[in-house]
């Protein structure tokens, strides 16, 4: 907005607009790259601390220059293209993944007047473009001429398509609450109560589906390192691969900032600062907290198998998202006081989580005595009760 206004005053309508827009887009790309660098540093430090080690320490003070070293290394690596790969698609696939992830950022506001182009249907635009990067992944998998890559590409298509639906549903319920798809209007509608308090179920659904969309543990099966090494990215190296890497971190940041804006009130909760820079810092703080939670999940949990992932999506998350919309609609229709919505939402979240937990952990009998007793009865049923218990 700033560059365009200044340049339009200077150069007149068409040229001022075009050059201004170009400058702003380049600025956005630079800002995103710096953000991604900071995210990689933060992830390595945080994961290191979770695992009981220090993380990068040598390059710069506490490893602060490590991301720059990584970027240099990636750029200087030899870009190997497999002989039987489809060269055109192989070259194009990283772009097909990166460009939609970047296009989302055009309409994400970071303060009440800091946004590149505030669209009235901002949320719709974001969701529509987020889906486009899936084709890029499948292209990457197919064009790599490797069985691991094809498997990874297909797995990723299945996973990402399945988890788009809960995101859309969760976002719909938010849009219903604020009666608008404009992101700035949604944020300002939360100046009294953030939507996280009103709809914890929507927050849970959005967070889980968002983590699955980005492809982070526990949902990173499609580029699982220990099975299909790298998945669709297995044949990419050097600068080509760094575009995928950039796209993944931009997506993570996008999900986190959407959580901060849609659920935690962005810059307007609990107080609305006058200076836009302060609002920007406030949003940044909330976003980085959400990102820290996402990294924490990566450090702690193993990854889900692809059929478990899909059954989680289709059997648990999607029905829950429908239920969420129904609750929101009922609440809006009858005009109840807001604690009732919180109560219903929270109780459904807690009940479903507890039921899932019991179903998974019940097969593992917890106490040693129970297990020994079971094994003894099993041995006796085989007629082995006199087997060397003590000899």
């Amino acid at each position: 907005m700033f560059a365009r206004d200044i340049l339009t005053d200077l150069l007149g309508k068409p040229w001022g607009e075009i050059i201004g827009l170009t400058i702003e887009l380049i600025g956005l790309l630079t800002a995103l790259s710096i953000v991604v660098l900071s995210l990689t540093w933060m992830e390595r430090k945080l994961l290191g601390r979770i695992q009981g080690r220090m993380g990068p320490m040598r390059v710069g003070f506490h490893g602060i220059l490590q991301p720059i070293a990584d970027a240099l290394k990636l750029v200087l690596k030899e870009d190997v293209v497999p002989g039987s790969a489809d060269k055109g698609l192989f070259w194009f696939a990283p772009l097909a993944v990166f460009v939609p992830s970047f296009m989302i950022w055009i309409t994400i506001p970071v303060s009440h007047d800091l946004v590149l182009a505030n669209l009235d249907m901002g949320l719709f635009y974001i969701i529509a473009f987020a889906v486009l990067s899936i084709t890029g992944l499948v292209m990457a998998g197919w064009s790599s001429a490797s069985k691991y890559a094809v498997l990874g590409g297909l797995r990723s298509a299945a996973q990402l398509i399945s988890y788009e639906i809960p995101i859309i549903m969760a976002v719909i319920s938010i849009a219903m609450m604020s009666q608008s798809l404009n992101l700035q209007v949604i944020v300002e509608a939360q100046s009294n109560i953030p939507y996280a308090l009103l709809q914890p179920l929507a927050l849970a659904i959005f967070l889980i589906a968002g983590v699955a969309e980005v492809g982070r543990t526990p949902f990173d099966i499609y580029f699982a390192e220990s099975e299909i090494v790298g998945g669709p990215f297995v044949e990419y190296s050097g600068a080509h691969w760094s575009v995928f890497f950039l796209a993944e971190y931009i997506n993570t940041f996008a999900i986190a900032i959407l959580v901060a804006l849609l659920f935690f009130g962005g810059w307007s909760f609990p107080l609305m600062p006058e200076i836009s820079a302060l609002g920007f810092l406030w949003v940044g703080l909330k976003t980085y907290l959400v990102i820290a939670v996402i990294f924490w999940l990566r450090g702690t949990l193993p990854r889900l198998r692809v059929d478990q992932l899909m059954s989680l999506a289709w059997k648990v998350i999607i029905p829950l998202s429908f239920v969420n919309i129904m609750i929101t609609a009922t609440y809006l229709y009858y005009g109840w006081a807001w604690p009732i919505l919180t109560l219903i939402s929270l109780s459904i979240t807690v009940t479903v989580s507890y039921m899932l937990y019991r179903k998974i952990t019940r097969p593992a009998l917890r106490t040693l005595e129970e297990r020994l007793a079971y094994a003894k009865s099993y041995n006796q049923s085989r007629g082995q009760s006199e087997v060397s218990d003590a000899r």
Partner: protein, 147 residues
């Protein structure tokens, strides 16, 4: 233990011996599958665990040694069988204990013994195209030149 073996394997006419605390029964190589099945099913021995299947090269004959163990009765037996050096054949005991599979493949690989009835005697440990049987005493340790 010796009397038990004599009792069980009466019709196979084994030669019973012992070494330290193991009882050894030597039977002829054609009867090895029936001996194995008898030892596995007979309620007095119940040897359901094949501990080890080894091949020893005595330079004029091979000896295949089966170490058997019963998880229910907690006793160990040793069955041996001698086979001639030229054209070594012995029936495979895979039908009795499935766990004999890779032992026999390895025996074929390293010693050249043919286990009749084994479904798949492809090389296990040596690479395809290896000539010779390195486990035999006649195979040199240091004079081997690959090219």
């Amino acid at each position: 233990m010796e009397s038990l073996l004599v009792e069980c394997l009466k019709e196979f006419k084994p030669r019973i011996g012992s070494s330290l605390d193991d009882t050894i029964a030597t039977v002829s190589s054609e009867l090895i599958v029936e001996v194995g099945r008898k030892l596995k099913d007979d309620y007095r021995t119940l040897c359901d665990f094949l501990r080890c299947l080894s091949v020893v090269d005595y330079e004029d004959h091979f000896q295949v040694v089966y170490h058997l163990y019963s998880t229910q009765k907690n006793h160990q037996l040793v069955i041996k069988s001698d086979i001639p050096y030229e054209d070594p054949h012995i029936p495979s005991v895979m039908g009795v204990w499935v766990g004999a599979d890779w032992y026999e493949r390895e025996g074929h690989d390293l010693f050249g013994i043919i286990f009749d009835g084994h479904p798949d005697l492809t090389p296990l440990i040596l690479y395809e195209g290896f000539e010779g049987y390195p486990g035999r005493k006649s195979y040199p340790l240091n004079d081997y030149k690959e090219w």
